[in-house]
């Protein structure tokens, strides 16, 4: 019999830690190969870790709700199977093993009346308090600890007091979004440039062909693949590679492939599945990939890696009818393009006549460290032009 | 049998003191002893400096005190007295006769059985009645069951009766300090005579020759304790010897005798001779307090003798014979009834004091 470790998996290129949300098996439980062992989440997604072996769950090493670095052992499994040497560890000690003695006078959770009052006055909730490490007896948080923490804390007293509000517990997703957005705003100097594309041709074609397209491809034709395609075309031009890149402290990295993030709005918040190597996909494949990921996101079935590793993101700022927005970059990407609502407008044509056209605003936010203003503006115009002169011939081919 | 007036300063031998039975001798009114400086000296009324009106006044205060206390008893049974009440039935001659000898500038330090003494000093009936009912209109506005109007130069006692003796000595010290010629009359009892404070206070007054007259009212009982369990000396007046001061033993049922001796003692005290101790023998013709079932422990023969030595009746009988008509007596009693009715009406109308007021009175400003 061998003992194997189950490790915290890496769920995305920039992910360094994961949180065990729930153990689905208890110590001593028999395990089938591929059986879900625990539920976990990363900054990007929620996922389940499956047992790679048939055997028995010998020991849980990381309790639920704990966050550990990627690669940390989560559990030990005893199995009769042959396992790779690097997974094998010493057999589990007998269950009689003594739990680590609690420190005498363990008081990490104790809050003095003074600390409680100061926390309440400063709008620091109990949950937030519980995250502070204390220097008092038994590790309790002292007033001084809290004062130090408050000095480094961004929010001030000007906020309305928590007593005046309904308390909505933070969902994991909301917290992740918040962390990501703070990171975005904190690490990246951003600006947004606006342009308007004439989508009349595409709107007309789509109206005519969407049924047929669905019949042929099984894809419900939205405008997203058109915008994605136009963006990919623009990104393929050498002068716009900088928008598909990443800022490094020593250099700027221009990616060869475009891993296109498609923001999907869910009730709980936004998630960004990624179409990998999108630059090489045909329109139909691109549309299929987008639909698949979007569906999986809505169903909560996204695999961790499917929501990680993007190089450029498309988002929708027009779902509620807005023409423009100022989207925040999804770090460490260099740009995000927000599509506004399509609406009919009276426009002056080059010949001086007027016409009613279907128009759409494009809001492009870029990392100003890499992208200069004129490059951003030019890129945005290029995307507009790609949409206005969209190659519908290819599409027609695919429908025949 | 009319009382036999003993000649003053009749020498008696020490042996007679051994056979002294206060109760029997008092009842028979033949007590005539004088050992060392201890005197039993009821004087003939003819030698007193009292005018006709003084006799009526003395009687009025005794009768008023008696009637007031009887009215308190009625009010108590009606549930109008919140705490308890102490009566001085049987000591009216002592209370009235002694305080009648005081000058206005003198200080009276009474006990809880000396209600008539307050009246002699000028205590108005309405606040006194309101005091018993615990009302805002009472003398100390419901703060304490004991009372005294300071403006009448009366000290308010505390229940530790012996403790009042050093306090009285202090009042006498102040009189000497100021040299104002005033004196202090303090009333205490056979029970308080056993306390250390009796000794400490009287000794202090004796050492510093302070103008203090201390009357020990020996009424045979300290609550339920008989005097044979209270002290072992022949009598309390004899104790004066131990302080190098004069002592008197007097018949406390004879208002004129009490007046005369107290007056003499006060004038001696004023002269700087030091304090004087007077033992007054008179009955406590009631219980310790209004709750006290004295019948359970006071011998029947003693209770049955109370009438014969009732100081109010004795004085009334004497006045009727020599100084005052039946009609005048009825007239006085009518006045007393009227005054008491007015006092009761006032007291009942007086509001109760308000709780928060007490917070203001903890410290003097």
């Amino acid at each position: 019999m061998a003992t194997a470790q189950i490790l915290m998996p890496r769920m995305g290129t920039s992910v360094h830690e994961g949180t065990v949300t729930q153990w689905l098996k208890q110590e001593g439980d028999e395990l089938q190969k591929g059986e879900p062992l625990l539920a976990a989440e990363s900054a990007k997604v929620e996922f389940e870790v499956e047992s790679p072996y048939e055997g028995r769950l010998a020991k849980i090493l990381v309790a639920a709700e704990k966050t550990v670095p990627v690669g940390e052992a989560l559990a030990l499994i005893e199995t009769e199977e042959v396992i790779s040497p690097e997974e094998e560890v010493a057999p589990v000690a007998p269950p009689a093993e003594k739990a680590p003695q609690k420190e005498a006078g363990e008081r990490r959770g104790f809050l003095s009346p003074r600390v409680k009052r100061l926390a309440a006055e400063s709008g620091v909730g109990l949950e937030e308090l519980s995250k502070l490490s204390g220097t008092g007896r038994g590790g309790r948080v002292t007033e001084e600890d809290l004062q130090k923490y408050l000095k480094g804390r961004p929010t001030g007293r000007a906020e309305p007091s928590p007593e005046e509000a309904d308390r909505i517990p933070l969902s994991r997703m909301r917290r992740r979004i918040a962390e990501r957005m703070i990171e975005s705003a904190r690490t990246t100097p951003q600006f947004t440039t606006l342009d308007v594309a004439d989508l009349s041709t595409i709107v007309a074609w789509r109206r005519e062909n969407s049924e047929n397209f669905f019949a042929r491809t099984g894809v419900r034709l939205t405008y997203t693949p058109f915008i994605a395609r136009a963006t990919l075309m623009a990104l393929s031009k050498p002068e716009f590679r900088v928008l598909n890149s990443r800022w490094g402290e020593e250099a700027i990295f221009h990616f060869k492939a475009v891993h296109l993030g498609i923001a999907v709005a869910l009730a709980e918040g936004l998630i960004v599945p990624v179409v990998r190597d999108a630059q090489g996909l045909s329109f139909v494949d691109l549309a299929k990939a987008i639909q698949t990921l979007s569906d999986r996101a809505h169903q909560g079935n996204l695999r961790p890696e499917e929501a990680a590793g993007g190089t450029f993101t498309l988002t929708n700022v027009g779902a509620t009818g807005s023409l423009f927005g100022t989207p925040l970059i999804n770090p460490p990407e260099a740009a995000i393009l927000g599509a506004g609502a399509i609406q009919k407008e009276v426009v002056a044509l080059p010949d001086g006549s007027t016409a009613v056209r279907d128009r759409m605003g494009l809001s492009l936010t870029v990392d100003h460290r890499l992208v200069d203003g004129w490059v951003a503006g030019k890129f945005n115009r290029t995307v507009c032009e790609q949409l206005e002169g969209f190659d519908l011939a290819e599409l027609c081919t695919s429908l025949t | 049998m009319e009382r036999a007036v003993a000649p003053s300063e009749t020498p008696v031998n020490e042996a007679e003191l051994d056979h002294l039975d206060y109760f029997r001798d008092l009842r028979d009114r033949h007590l005539t002893i004088n050992g060392l400086r201890i005197a039993w000296r009821p004087k003939s009324p003819q030698t007193l400096d009292l005018a006709e009106n003084d006799f009526r006044q003395l009687y009025y205060f005794m009768a008023l005190g008696r009637a007031f206390e009887e009215r308190i008893g009625e009010l108590f049974r009606q549930g109008l007295i919140p705490g308890t009440a102490f009566f001085g039935r049987g000591n009216e001659a002592l209370s009235v006769g002694s305080s009648y000898a005081l000058r206005p500038e003198d200080t009276l330090v009474p006990m809880h059985r000396n209600l008539p003494s307050h009246l002699v000093r000028g205590q108005a009936l309405k606040p006194l009645m309101a005091q018993y009912l615990g009302r805002e209109g009472g003398i100390n506005r419901g703060r304490e069951i004991h009372y005294a109007d300071r403006s009448l130069n009366i000290f308010q006692l505390i229940s530790h009766i012996g403790t009042m003796i050093p306090v009285a000595a202090g009042a006498a010290f102040a009189a000497k300090y100021r040299g104002d010629g005033s004196a202090v009359l303090a009333m205490s009892g056979d029970g308080a005579s056993s306390t250390g404070d009796f000794h400490e206070g009287f000794n202090f007054a004796a050492v510093h020759k302070l103008p203090l007259v201390l009357i020990l009212e020996n009424n045979f009982w300290a609550y339920k304790t008989p005097i044979r369990l209270q002290y072992a000396c022949k009598n309390l007046a004899l104790r004066a010897i131990g302080y190098g001061t004069p002592g008197y033993l007097i018949d406390g049922t004879d208002v004129l005798g009490v007046y005369e001796i107290t007056r003499e003692a006060l004038s001696r005290a004023r002269l700087g001779e030091g304090p004087i101790l007077i033992e007054s023998v008179n009955p406590r013709a009631c219980g310790h307090s209004i709750y006290d079932a004295y019948q359970d422990y006071v011998p029947k023969e003693e209770i049955s003798a109370w009438d014969a030595i009732d100081p109010v009746r004795l004085f009334e009988a004497r006045l009727k014979k020599e100084k005052i008509t039946e009609e005048q007596i009825s007239h006085l009693h009518a006045r007393i009834d009227r005054e008491l009715a007015e006092a009761v009406a006032f007291a009942k109308k007086s509001p109760f004091p308000q709780g928060p007021d007490i917070l203001e009175d903890v410290y003097a400003t």
């Binding site: 009346p113 409680k116 008092g136 | 530790h160 000595a169 010290f173 102040a174 404070d197 400490e200 009175d361």
Partner: protein, 332 residues
Amino acid sequence: MAQLTYRQAITTALWEEMKRDPEVYLIGEDIGLGGGAFGVTKGFLDAFGAMRVVDAPLAESGFVGAAVGAAHKGLRAVVEMQFADFITETFKMLVDYAAGAHFRGAGPVPITIRLPAGALKSAGPYHSHNPEAWFYHTPGLKVVAPATPYDAKGLLKAAIRDNNPVLFLEYKRLYNLPLSQIPEVLRPEVPEGDWTVPIGKGRIIREGKHLTIITHGTTLYDALQAAETLSDEGIEVEVVDLRSILPFDRELILSSVKKTGRVLIVHEDHKTGGVGAEWAALIAEEAFESLDAPIHRVGALDTPIPYSPPLEEYFLPNTQKIVEALRKLSAY
């Protein structure tokens, strides 16, 4: 302006008040012919005469009672208890009579009882007591406890002028303390002239932000030394001298506790039922949410006062015990 010793400050206050007010007089044992057991009233008999410097019989209840009775007549006695311990002789006179006299309507009792208090090198159980807790429970009394020459003079004058019975604790240990041994902060100049220290007001002797010591009397000296030690360790201790302990400076206690959040209460008297318990209760009632640590107390042990030096040292609070308590509180 002068620097006075503790004893000189008391003597000076008595002298000035006797001169100022002919109704102020002294009474006690051995104070006239003997000049007082500690020499505080030496020379007073000659200067003021036997009517104003009264050698009383050895009977505390008797002469305190006399002082009370004379007070009803407007005189102001300054009573010397030869030792604070002997005040038990006159307990009822103070607690039953004097304390409530004004409230009962019996009239004010403007008397001051001087109480040579505290331990003094193997003085034993009848010459070492700190009597304040015996009287703390009695509304109507005032209790002051000066620890410095300045406060001794100012508070004694205030006590004599007060219209209530005031127990004036004076510390035998401080009588002979040479000026050179009194810390700078505790020996401000003692001015002449007509001034008093208000009864009921404490004083911050040393400012600090981490911990508060609340104390009075002799332990103020120990507390200051302890604060010095802790300061070397980077912990700033605020030292509050209450000076008056009934009534006491509630606002000062509360404001210091609100500032530091950690409190050590120190007094020379026994810990259990000592006056510090009342301050701890006040803090718990009024400043609970300011506390960052439990309230601690240092006081004498709960044993009768022992005689032999090592026993007495073990029994009494001292600087080292305070330092240890401060460290414990600081580490909480």
